[in-house]
């Protein structure tokens, strides 16, 4: 019985059908209202959204998650089987490992992610769970040649006295949270629109991407001239 299950999970055909299934579920989802940006899917951690969204919104994602779960087992068993019996190049297996780590990273973020938007004037502060407060010291903007706002920046003061600047593409990371400057308004008084993010999957995702890339480069080198 166990051997039968193991053989089924090492099947290439199973992998091909699962890939097709995931693609079809994602394609159907992309046309559904559940994937539209007004569905709130990007505003909450994935598992929280899945628990609270009506099934008419989330059905495609449930199908997708179920198929990806089996696909992960399929990739894992295929790699184990290939390494056990053939012992050939490890490149495809590194790519599998990278893929599995990226899926795991998504699970971390789907469970423990956090996002909150705040609007703070100069002097306003952000409270952290341990009671520390980070204060918005100043908000500045730059104007481009045509007078339009071409850049903006906020200085944040930590309780330790340290000063740190944030601007687009340059957030501040503090105690596991990222503080992002999304926009600023200058009238009637300077106001920083900030987002606080916690993305526990970021590091495993990067690690997965690096392992995948190494495997990919090894595969390219192996296939060169063939």
């Amino acid at each position: 019985m166990l051997k039968k299950i193991y053989t089924a999970f090492t099947s290439l055909n199973l992998g091909l059908w699962l890939l097709t299934g995931v693609m079809l579920a994602l394609a159907a989802g992309s046309f559904s209202s559940g994937a539209s940006e007004s569905s709130g899917l990007n505003d909450f951690p994935l598992f929280y959204w899945l628990q609270n969204a009506p099934l008419s919104f989330s059905w495609w994602l449930w199908i997708c998650l179920a198929l990806i779960a089996i696909l992960c087992l399929n990739a894992l068993f295929c790699s184990i089987e290939a390494l056990r019996t053939k012992g050939r190049s490890i490149a495809p297996h590194l790519m599998h490992l990278g893929f599995l780590l990226i899926v795991l990273a998504h699970l971390f973020s789907a469970y423990g992610g956090f996002k909150q938007q705040l609007q703070l004037p100069e002097g306003g502060s952000i409270g952290f769970p341990d009671g520390e407060r980070v204060r918005v010291e100043s908000i500045t903007t730059e104007a481009g040649p045509m007078g339009m706002m071409s850049g903006y920046r906020a200085e944040l003061r930590l309780e330790s006295g340290g000063l740190s600047g944030i601007e687009p593409n340059s957030p501040m990371f503090h105690k596991g949270y990222g503080i992002y400057l999304k926009h600023v308004a200058l009238t009637p008084a300077p106001l920083a629109i900030l987002e606080i993010h916690k993305e526990p999957g970021a590091l495993p995702a990067l690690l997965g991407a690096l392992i995948f890339t190494v495997g990919n480069l090894m595969l390219l080198a192996k296939r060169r001239g063939r």
Binding site: L12, L26, A27, E37, N42, Y152, N169, H197, N216
Partner: protein, 238 residues
Amino acid sequence: MKWLLVGSAALYLGSFRRPLFIAALALELFYLAMRGVGLGRLPLIGPQDTLAFFSCSIGLMALPFIYSRELSGRNDFLWSCGGLAALFAFVALPFPTLNMPLPPILDTYWFELHVALAFFAYALFGVAALLGGAFLFQGGRGLLDLQYRAALVGYSFFSLSMVSGGIWGYYAWGTYWLWTPKELWTSILWLFYSLYLHLRVKGPAWDKAFAWLGIVGFFVTLFTYLGVSILMKSSHSF
């Protein structure tokens, strides 16, 4: 300056010989370089610039293939590549150029790397589709091997584009992943070529299916690039 792009497209259309193809590519590279110098950045914003960049990427990525031993003297393949590059150069022409500075959120090398790598990948998927078509018309396993190589390198560029996009997204928005139609179709495209590359393991009995998948993949590519922007509401489009 648009006459450079018109000239390039016309040369691509007449590229029955390699020097004409090279001249078309050189003219298009010159056009993009002039745009880049004028803007102070890579021209990667808006339909006009991205279509011209895509067309140029096709010319650039086709180069190793038109000089490969297997395709030496195959002017039909050369012209197909030229025709594909010309098509997107012509489609770019009616759109206005966007001459504004980059919005602050896009003003990072991660964005430029992400987009440029995606277009190199799209271009290679286009070349792979042409090779698949050539195989179906004329046969010859060498063509299928070249198709596999084009798709594999394209897949590698595309994977790197997704990684650089994830890094950019993390620094720009606080997350390496957003659920938008563009990202869903990006995943579909990546999964599609994952399936394509795995199918190779099934051996020669699947050669025709393999060639067809290489062709279908380019339509998925076009939908990911153009279809999502035209048909779906997504903040993540040109």
